[in-house]
Amino acid sequence: MARFRFREPSIIPGFRMAFGFTIAYLAIIVLIPIAGLFLKTFELDWATFERIVTGPRFLAALKLSFGASALAALFNVVIGVVIAWVLVRYRFPGRRLLDAIIDLPFALPTAVAGISLGWVYSPNGWIGRLFAPDIMISYTPIGVWIALVFIGLPFVVRTVQPVLEDLDRQVEEAAATLGARRFTTIRRVILPTLLPAILTGFALAFARAVGEYGSVIFIAGTGTGVTILPVLIVEWLAQRGHNAIALHAAAAIAAVMLMVSFAILLAINLIQAWSNRRFGRV
């Protein structure tokens, strides 16, 4: 048997240097700090950990974080598919501009989005004043939801768009020759084909929303009781001082959030693998 080789032979130089640097940099910047966080969590005894994760503030933040994120991602799926459809299928003046604007939430710093959304939806703001005082948006869970919709929108559009572009028109024609009306074709043929991309977009938007801090903190305000998990971490870090428990509590929440991120990452990979296996290359 041939001696094990770590890589296939290649005449191209520089593998050791490039690979070594990549691994070292990755370890120093990402892997070791994340491992440190988990180690920190293990210093916590079980009873304390349990007290933290069953405490009312944690549970309320958990509920708001996951609830608002799921609702925002869901909204983004519906509206994102419509937008992707319009951008891919229809030709109208200004289409390219709209297409470019989609990426605004990626490019706009979250603090800028936050301060702006916070004002627009406040009782004096352009939209907030239409609803105040009956419905308050800023400083309530509705505001959190709006901020999460804002930052998550591009994910769904940008995952669905390329799949829609590659869709074979003949498949739609086939459905039509078999007697399917347009709406039936969309519901039974096009949407199921887009499903893996839609699920991926949902997962990406959801993951981003769960971790979001910058745009939410402005619209949720401080001391309003509208607290999501990242805000809770920051609050506990701030009151830390020499209080080791608060730091541990923050670490525990962070660890939980990291586990959620990993789970979502895994889910996305599984969705891709499943759809590749079943439908061929997507």
Binding site: Q170, E173, A174, T177, G179, A180, T184, T193, R278
Partner: protein, 350 residues
């Protein structure tokens, strides 16, 4: 039910894809639309299906005007070139799709749709594959599933776009024979598009030869092979060479040589003399023979291929001779024409 295409014209933008095409397809017939790419054959097929609407003219299904019906209402079975199977549905779901999307009043029960799918899979000889996904099938199998799916809706006409185009030669031949048998068994009126003359001639009852948006000839395999209606058909079906000649008073001349050919029924003027490789013999130059020079000799299967450059403008003529003859390259020869077709030179199309 006959299908009639009457004076159909189709323009994409300002470019005419079909020029006043008329065609009648008889009930139960198997028809091939044959032509090079850009000849309008696929456009014609899509017009029959209702995937395109004619710029002018009508498509009749029996006596009714199908041009007023949408593709959904026409009830045609269409097999796409790349099959266009629904990749998120199993084979059985694909086949049952046309039944499942019917309005509730006409929709068969779930179990009935399933049994119909199984039955059709049996017909296309794919029993047992009903729960596979299209990605798990070979090209030939996908082709048959696409056909079964089209047959499931009991179509008034079956339309196939380059049905064997994406398959390799071996599978192609098998499927061709199988499709013919299937047609004879089910009796569906069938129209298929192909650019492969062998396929068209072998499979179809009648062949429609198309070129540049026009129908050049409609006929049986024998008719289009033995009596081609135009130089295009002559050259498109089988191998051929053409020489520019002049007809005067029933005599045919190539450059200065009077060929021993009578052309009593052809008006005076320039014409095109078309010949097939095996209808020409090679000999010494002499009266009534086309003078030329051998430019290439190569072995080809059972015979020998010779390329002769004839006349002042070096027109290439390909001929086939027995293998025991072997003229040397560069030698001067005379070509005797045994069978030929003469076409008066058409004035350039407006």
């Amino acid at each position: 039910m006959d299908i009639s295409i009457v004076d159909v014209r189709k323009e994409f933008g300002r470019y005419p894809a079909l020029n006043d095409v008329s065609l009648t397809i008889r009930s139960g017939e198997l028809i091939a639309l044959l032509g090079p790419s850009g000849s309008g054959k696929t456009t014609l097929l899509r017009l029959i299906a209702g995937l395109e609407m004619p710029t002018a003219g009508t498509v009749l299904f029996g006596d009714e005007d199908a041009s007023r019906k949408t593709v959904q209402e026409r009830n045609v079975g269409f097999v796409f070139q790349h099959y266009a199977l629904f990749r998120h549905m199993t084979v059985a779901e694909n086949i049952g799709f046309g039944l499942r999307v019917r309005p509730r009043a006409r929709r068969p029960a779930r179990a009935e749709i399933r049994s119909r799918a199984v039955q059709l899979l049996d017909l296309v000889q794919l029993s047992g594959l009903e729960d596979r996904f299209p990605a798990q099938l070979s090209g030939g199998q996908r082709q048959r599933v696409a056909l079964a799916r089209a047959l499931a809706i009991d179509p008034r006409v079956l339309l196939l776009d380059e049905p064997f185009g994406a398959l390799d030669a071996q599978v192609r031949r098998e499927l061709r024979r199988w499709l013919r048998e299937l047609h004879d068994k089910t009796g569906h009126t069938t129209v298929f598009v192909t650019h492969d003359q062998e396929e068209a001639i072998e499979l179809a009852d009648r062949v429609v030869v198309m070129s540049q948006g026009r129908i050049e000839q409609i006929g049986s395999a024998d008719e289009i092979y033995d009596s081609p209606a135009s130089p295009f058909v002559f050259s498109f079906i089988g191998e051929s060479s053409a020489l520019p000649v002049v007809v005067r008073g029933g005599r045919v001349a190539f450059e200065d040589t009077d060929l021993a050919i009578s052309a009593a029924d052809i008006a005076d003027g320039p014409a095109r003399l078309c010949v097939r490789p095996h209808d020409v013999d090679l000999g010494e130059p002499g009266p009534g023979r086309v003078p030329g020079r051998v430019s290439l000799v190569r072995r080809s299967g059972a015979g020998r291929r010779v390329e002769v450059v004839a006349g002042k403008d070096a027109h290439r003529v390909e001929i086939e001779i027995p293998p025991d003859l072997s003229p040397s390259v560069g030698s001067t020869v005379g070509l005797g024409v045994r069978r030929w077709r003469l076409f008066p030179e058409r004035a350039p199309a407006a």
